[in-house]
């Protein structure tokens, strides 16, 4: 099957897509966007989180065919060239990145949170990121990063 969709503002067409393929596979292996990660491929870890028509989803749970004609934004589409998105910047600055395998998903999820909630409380941050597993950091620095990004956004 052929799937045509918009990803990070660009139109992409993937050919010979097998019906069982996930959006994650198409992104990673067919359109050259491996930034979204594949830590579980069953909706448990959040490492594959992308925006689908503006809503964060686990790309591993979305069938490729479902994105026909729709709009996807991945972690690769957050920065403006060399200018990092404030969430990305805060993750690097605060030490929220170790191995970084959870990072793309967390960055997208946190990006969504601070778009929706101006200055989220710790409890709100924890709730919003509860579906994103990180094995390295114990989450403290991730909380720091989201707080910092939110504060900067509020100040700007």
């Amino acid at each position: 099957m052929r799937v045509t969709f918009t990803v990070n503002g660009r139109r992409e067409t993937a050919d010979d897509v097998w019906e069982g393929e996930s959006l994650l596979y198409v992104l990673r292996e067919r359109v050259g966007l491996p930034g979204s990660k594949n830590a579980c491929e069953q909706g448990e870890c959040g490492s594959c989180t992308v925006y689908l028509d503006g809503t964060p989803v686990c790309a591993c749970l979305v069938a490729a065919g479902q994105v026909e004609g729709r709009e996807v934004r991945t972690v690769e589409g957050l920065a403006d060239g060399d200018r990092l998105d404030p969430v990305q910047e805060a993750f690097v600055e605060c030490g929220a990145v170790q191995c970084g395998f959870c990072t793309p998903g967390l960055v997208v999820q946190a990006h969504d949170l601070i778009e929706r909630v101006a200055e989220p409380s710790d409890a709100e941050i924890r709730e919003a990121l509860a579906g994103n597993l990180c094995r390295c950091t114990g989450y403290e620095k991730i909380l720091d990063a989201v707080r910092l990004a939110a504060a900067r956004k509020a100040a700007s």
Binding site: P34, N38, E127, A130, N132, L133, T137
Partner: protein, 781 residues
């Protein structure tokens, strides 16, 4: 979009040089040089590798923990459209077995018999991962299923128990004998005993096992893999492929966490076999299910402890048996047993000790290295014993630990004298005096055990506080010639002096690349540092395990930089046309060659000109000795590191739900090299200890794993982790580079017993196994 490959043999997504610009030296917290790539999704992990024309490999694994293989028929799989190769043990070109520590007991592909569920039997290469999976289902294997041997105790002590593998059932028995335990038993005024169990924990790194093998024109293979120790991989891969080591070029790809789980080989030989067989690049990526079978886990343990003490809590003797189940193959079991034995009573001074630590073979899941290995299991038991002793003597848990605490100059169970500062009693005092978290605020449901599931509104919730202390050996022990190698090159590029650091050391997330750049800046006085991808074109760096890379590769980078620095000084003398020894005490600071007496002599760029100074150095730590096979005596460790945890928990005693409210850690790191990374290590280590305390266990019955997914094997989420308070001490270890101590593992030891002690404090229950499950608290099991 169609991708066009370059036709060259280099993957389009591959590890690359990482520039580390900036100013942070040792002691600062510069940002990770790979951080920007990682937040942008541009960092090339081993599962992201891609090259034109590559095939996908898949691995057929045994569904049975123990069975004879009667026959294998691959013909239908081979005929499946899109399949390029199907390989079995007969196709292994060289040695048929691999294994850590020269044990060579693990088959590359099973021949004749399988000894654990998930053991690899056959390989498929195809044009799509799904094609490979479907073809795999067409491989016909006839098994004669056998009763799995899963009783670790019988494996250790019953000579009539059938053998799991040709080496017998006992991998190692390590005794430790100090004083006269029998005589001390007669004198004890208080005796406490306990039987403790630790379940199987999984490393659960997020980046699945994966990599790419590219066949090379010289008949060799280029391997892009995520591993902890490339050179040790190579020692096993080369003989199995029947190739000389020079024909295998290994490059470290992005590693999505390790924690011990990448110490053993996974897909390396398999991908290389498929690539060499098909003449095409082959990528293998495990999914999460396969990952649970694709690496070894933390050894489960059964431990029996008895302590005798005086009424005032002074321990007179320890009588200890530790039984560790390693599964079918040796992996790291030898060293795990060594750690459990030498650290079996932890950082306590006990005049009479009898420890017997055993590692056995069974058909249970294979176990090996995981963060804190050997020491984690023992720590849960000995800290539980300290709390028991406190209760029996009417002391509080901190005091009983202080009364028996080891310190600089005292002896470990092995007789090794603790040569560096070990301010344990003081650290316990600090942990106790840290401010307590506020009392439970039940008005916000999210603060309660069960959280948003609304299982309680505060009724039945009790608070508890507990302490845990963990002592971990840093670097390789027991006489191993442990070293790392670094090559450092200094040259002027674009008018600026640039240091290029090249090692084979694996960055697995811990921040080694940041530290290497910091050391280069401090030693060479330059700002621009470039970290070359880790590969085997430079000498062995040893493993990214045992909390050893800051010490060992840090030490190697430091000494290589110092050698380069000497070269700069010699060149400066030549350029100034003065004998070197007349220039006084020289250093490289702020891009200048500086003499203590005469001030700035020249800019480094001017001294270097077109010259390139390159030096390679090996760094070895102080040698250690083995443990005596009968008494366990020996100076077996080169460094020790201590962490103290205080845990505060709220427990819903009716439902058995636990909410960890706060974890406070006091850790001595010798010297803070990079506070940001260091805190991250302590936080992360603490989190894995929390996982073991209340959540994480690979559930096994009849040798089979019942929960190989993140749906059923739960690791801490951001809702499970409490705020963590850290007190970091810097009592230098005079032998170590910059006085540092390895830091990644100690917190993983101490957080588990601290949390369990807090749950005991809240509930009054004995709680002798981890993870603690709700039914252990409610008594419904």
């Amino acid at each position: 979009m169609t991708r066009t490959g370059s036709g060259s043999a280099t993957p389009v997504r591959a590890p690359r040089d990482i520039a580390a610009p900036g100013t942070g030296g040792v002691g600062d917290s510069p940002l990770r040089p790979d951080g920007t790539l990682k937040v942008k999704g541009e960092f090339a992990y081993s599962s992201d590798l891609w090259i034109d024309g590559m095939l996908w490999g898949a691995t057929l694994r045994s569904p049975h923990p123990r069975a004879k293989i009667v026959s294998i028929d691959v013909s239908a799989a081979l005929a499946h459209p899109g399949v390029s190769a199907v390989l079995t043990h007969e196709d292994v070109p060289g040695r048929k077995h691999f294994g850590l520590d020269h044990t060579w007991d693990q088959p590359v592909l099973a021949a004749g018999e399988v000894r654990h569920q998930g053991e690899p039997i056959a390989l498929v290469a195809a044009d799509h991962p799904e094609t490979a999976r479907r073809a795999m289902e067409k491989i016909r294997i006839e098994y004669e299923v056998l009763e799995p041997l899963t009783d670790a105790r019988r494996a250790a002590f019953d000579p009539a128990y059938p053998q799991v593998q040709p080496r017998g059932n006992l991998a190692r028995h390590q005794p430790v004998r100090v004083g006269d335990v029998e005589a001390a038993k007669a004198r004890a005024e208080v005796v406490v005993s306990g039987e403790y169990r630790v379940g199987i924990q999984d490393q659960a790194f997020l980046g699945p096992e994966s990599g790419l093998a590219v066949p090379a024109e010289d008949g060799g293979v280029d391997l892009y893999v995520a591993t902890q120790w490339m050179h040790n991989d190579l020692k096993q891969i080369a003989p199995c492929l029947g190739l000389p080591e020079e024909k295998i070029r290994m490059t470290l790809s992005g590693v999505g966490g390790a924690f011990g789980g990448r110490e053993d080989l996974s897909m390396q030989i398999h991908a290389a076999m498929l690539a060499l067989h098909t003449g095409r690049p082959v990528k293998i990526v495990y999914n999460r299910y396969e990952s649970f079978f694709g690496h070894v886990h933390r050894h489960p343990a059964e431990m029996r402890y008895e302590y005798g003490a005086t009424k005032d809590g002074r321990i007179l003797y320890a009588d200890v048996e530790i039984l560790l189940d390693g599964g079918a193959y040796t992996s790291a079991t030898m060293n795990v047993v060594g750690n459990a034995a030498s650290l079996g009573v932890g950082p306590y001074v006990i005049p009479n000790i009898k420890i017997d630590a055993y590692g056995v073979y069974t058909n249970n899941p294979p176990c090996g290295a995981m963060r804190g290995f050997g020491a984690v299991q023992a720590c849960f038991a000995y800290e539980s014993m300290m709390d028991k002793l406190a209760e029996a003597c009417g002391l509080d848990p901190v005091t009983v630990r202080q009364v028996n605490a080891a310190s600089q100059g005292s002896e470990l169970a092995t007789g090794q004298v603790i040569w560096a500062p070990l301010p344990m009693a003081e650290m316990l005092r600090q942990a106790r005096e840290l401010p307590m978290p506020p009392p439970l605020d039940a008005s916000d449901i999210r603060n309660l055990p069960g959280g948003a599931s609304q299982t309680t509104h505060g009724e039945g919730v009790r608070r508890g506080v507990g302490y845990g202390v963990g002592l971990k050996n840093i670097c390789f022990s027991e006489g191993y010639d442990d070293y790392s190698t670094a090559r450092v090159r200094l040259e002027v590029i674009g008018g600026e002096a640039v240091a290029l650091v090249h090692t084979a050391a694996a960055e697995v997330g811990q921040g080694l690349v940041t530290l290497e750049a910091q050391i280069a800046r401090t030693e060479l006085g330059v700002e621009r540092v470039v970290i070359h991808p880790a590969d085997n074109q430079v000498g062995d760096a040893g493993s990214s395990s045992a909390s050893r890379q800051s010490y060992m590769t840090g030490g190697a980078v430091m000494t290589a930089c110092q050698a380069v620095r000497e070269g700069v000084f010699a060149l400066a003398a030549a350029r100034l046309d003065r004998p070197l020894d007349t220039l006084g005490d020289l250093s490289l600071v702020g891009g200048k060659v500086v003499s203590e007496s005469a001030g700035v002599l020249a800019a480094i760029e001017d001294v270097l000109g077109d010259a390139v100074i390159e030096e390679t150095r090996e760094y070895h730590h102080e040698p250690t000795t083995g443990m005596d096979p009968v008494t366990g005596r020996g100076d077996s460790h080169t460094q020790l590191a201590l962490c103290v945890h205080r845990a505060v928990v709220d427990v819903d005693v009716e439902l058995g739900l636990v909410k960890v409210v706060e974890l406070a850690a006091v850790q001595d790191v010798g010297k803070i090299l990079n506070r940001l990374s260091l805190e991250g290590q302590i936080h992360g280590g603490t989190a894995q200890g929390l996982g073991l305390a209340v959540m994480e266990e690979i559930v096994v019955s009849d040798g089979k794993v019942r929960n190989p997914s993140f749906t059923d094997y739960l690791i801490p989420t951001i809702l499970d982790m409490p705020p963590m308070r850290l007190e970091i001490l810097e009592n230098a270890d005079p032998r170590a580079p910059y006085g540092l101590r390895g830091a990644g593992e100690p917190p993983t030891l101490s957080s588990t017993p601290a949390i369990v002690a807090a749950i005991r404090d809240a509930t009054g229950l004995a709680l002798t196994r981890v993870p603690v499950r709700p039914e252990h608290i409610t008594g419904s099991s």
